[in-house]
Amino acid sequence: MTDATDTNAGVRPVRASAGRRGSGRAGTALAPYLQAAPMALVFLVFFVLPLAATIVVSFWQYTQYSIEPAFTAQNYGDVFYGCLADLPRLCTTFLTYLSTLKFCLIVWVTTLTIGFTVAYFLAFHVHTLKIQVICFLLCTIPFWTSIVIRMISWIPLLGRNGLVNQTLVGMGVIDTPLEELLYSDFAVILALTHLYTLFMVVPIFNSLMRIDRSLIEAARDAGAGGPQTLLHVILPLARPGILIGSIFVVTVVMGDFLTIGIMGGQQIASVGKVIQTQMQFLQFPLAAANAVILLAAVLVGVWALLKLVDIRKEL
């Protein structure tokens, strides 16, 4: 083809010659470390040191009135005292862990279900960035008040003479008010779900936004219906977000004592609650040992989750 006035040839972009680099100032090599230093310092002082202290103290000895430096595994033994001997009956520690794990699992399922649904709506049904931002702000409104206030506000709603019971009785659905709305497993799960769903929404939303929209069209083109597209395309691609959200929720719920304490009417055991009680009785080494075990349990959980997805690759 002999095209004289080639409309497509266009103007070739003139690339500027490579910029000047590495003019060799002595300070440049140090700069990245200086930039990372503030955060590193915060981590060191508020995370690494307390953690190290906790691990050290977990090997100390204690009496009713004193704590002495030592190196003994006694505290760890006490945590699991009688646990092996009593099998198959579960000891208090195992029961507490089991109860905490139960909440963890249920709250994981509820936050994941609600969080994925909300994230899906925001990512696929809200088309303008402005509305997405507004919706996100709406989601964060509960975080504008303190965690305690947020939990206490459930009381007038769920209490024996609370709004829910009054409404149900008023409508004639039930004769006597439901007792188990407040200070129960239900209340704990409700409050935890309410508190932590946003932790699922954000990473899942992020994953969903990164899905090339033409993939969904390609699935439709290949004959996939809505549920099939969700199952075979969207869910697998949202996996990194789901895992990051899961790690958030699982770690937070595993260590929770405040929500379980308040919403459970101080009647439900949790690992966090046990640690708090031991601290109140000044059994710091025992509390520390419990904390280290909890940390180990959570780390194993996170490690298992990370085995499922290489976050560094998928972020």
């Binding site: 083809m1 095209d3 004289a4 069209e217």
Partner: protein
């Protein structure tokens, strides 16, 4: 494979929030032919393709594939398959699972669908990559996989959205002949969107030049090149000079422009050489006439160097009367 089908558009219109993207276009594409929708960006060619595919609703008008009006059918029920510009391969699935995706949606057992995917990959010479993930493939390889995946649905019409635009020029030329080969082998109707006139010329049986949501001209490549209907078409397909000739607008192919000695009696214009561009097989000579028109002449390389010209030379220009092709005004 299912049989090729005709595709017919009847006054098809697409409006986005009041903005008119496609303006009542009508077109008939013969079964088994290779059709290129050609035009600058924003001319409505992609919207047209997406409406045929069923990924965009038709605001008005009818789309017929074979004997059926398919306006309300989902993509998979139309017998079309689309190859996306970005290829849209599923990043979490292997090449084989990508190709087998439509079978998986139909519930075909794993062993059978992978077996059939393998055979399809053979057609595009990609069998050795069947276990790889799409990100481990080059652009050209991804494109072959995308083609195999589209063909897997046994479409009667294959829709290609700028399939070659992401490839480097050498690969583009190779894939072009590959597309042509596969189209001929399978006998399917291909509708291919492109903004490259070269691609359209090389591939199509029917070139549909679009502009501003309308069809400027729909004809065979040879007819488009030899008899562009409007100045827009002549300019867009390239290789033409558009001149005002005694009140008429004419298109004159650059290779029909004869450069003559300045004193030549048969001259139609006097001009000065403004630039020379060496292009290998031929040489383009940029000219500026006394009246201020610019035009291009293309000469065979040997003919040019038999009596070379330099910028600034005064020349005369002539052309055979039958070389001038009168244009109608842009719609």
């Amino acid at each position: 494979m299912s049989d090729a089908q005709t595709v017919e558009l009847a006054a098809v219109t697409k409006r986005y929030d009041g903005a008119l993207a496609v303006d009542a276009i009508s077109l008939k594409i013969k079964a088994g032919s290779y059709c290129c929708l050609l035009g600058p960006s924003g001319c409505g060619k992609s919207s047209t393709l997406r409406m045929i595919a069923g990924h965009e609703d038709v605001t008005d008008g009818h789309i017929m594939i074979g004997p059926r009006v398919v306006n309300d059918d989902p993509p998979a029920a139309r017998g079309t398959a689309m190859m996306f510009q970005s290829y849209a391969l599923f990043p979490h699935l292997s090449v084989a699972e990508n190709v087998a995706f439509s079978l998986r949606m139909k519930g075909v057992a794993r062993a059978e669908r992978l077996d059939r995917a393998e055979r399809m990959l053979d057609l595009v010479s990609m069998t050795e990559f069947s276990d790889r993930k799409p990100t481990q493939l080059s652009g050209g390889q991804q494109q072959r996989v995308a083609l195999a995946r589209a063909l897997m649905t046994e479409p009667s019409v294959l829709l290609l959205d700028e399939p070659l635009s992401a490839l480097d020029p050498f690969l583009r030329v190779r894939m072009r002949s590959e597309l042509r080969r596969i189209q001929a082998e399978m006998g399917l109707t291909f509708i291919h969107v492109t903004h490259s006139q070269e691609e359209a010329m090389a591939l199509a049986d029917l070139v549909v030049v679009m502009n501003d949501g309308r069809i400027a001209q729909a004809a065979s490549p040879r007819e488009i090149y030899n008899a562009p209907r409007t100045p827009f078409v002549a300019r867009f397909i390239g290789g033409h000079n558009i001149l005002d000739d005694g009140g008429r607008t004419i298109a004159l192919r650059a290779d029909d422009v004869a450069i003559l000695p300045p004193g030549e009696a048969a001259a139609r214009r006097r001009a000065r050489v403004s630039e020379i561009e060496y292009r290998g097989p031929d040489v383009r000579v940029g000219l500026e006439t006394e009246a201020g028109e610019t035009l291009n002449a293309v000469m065979r390389e040997r003919a040019f160097f038999d009596s070379p010209l330099a910028p600034g030379a005064d020349v005369a220009i002539g052309w055979r009367p039958e070389a001038a092709h009168e244009l109608s005004r842009d719609a």
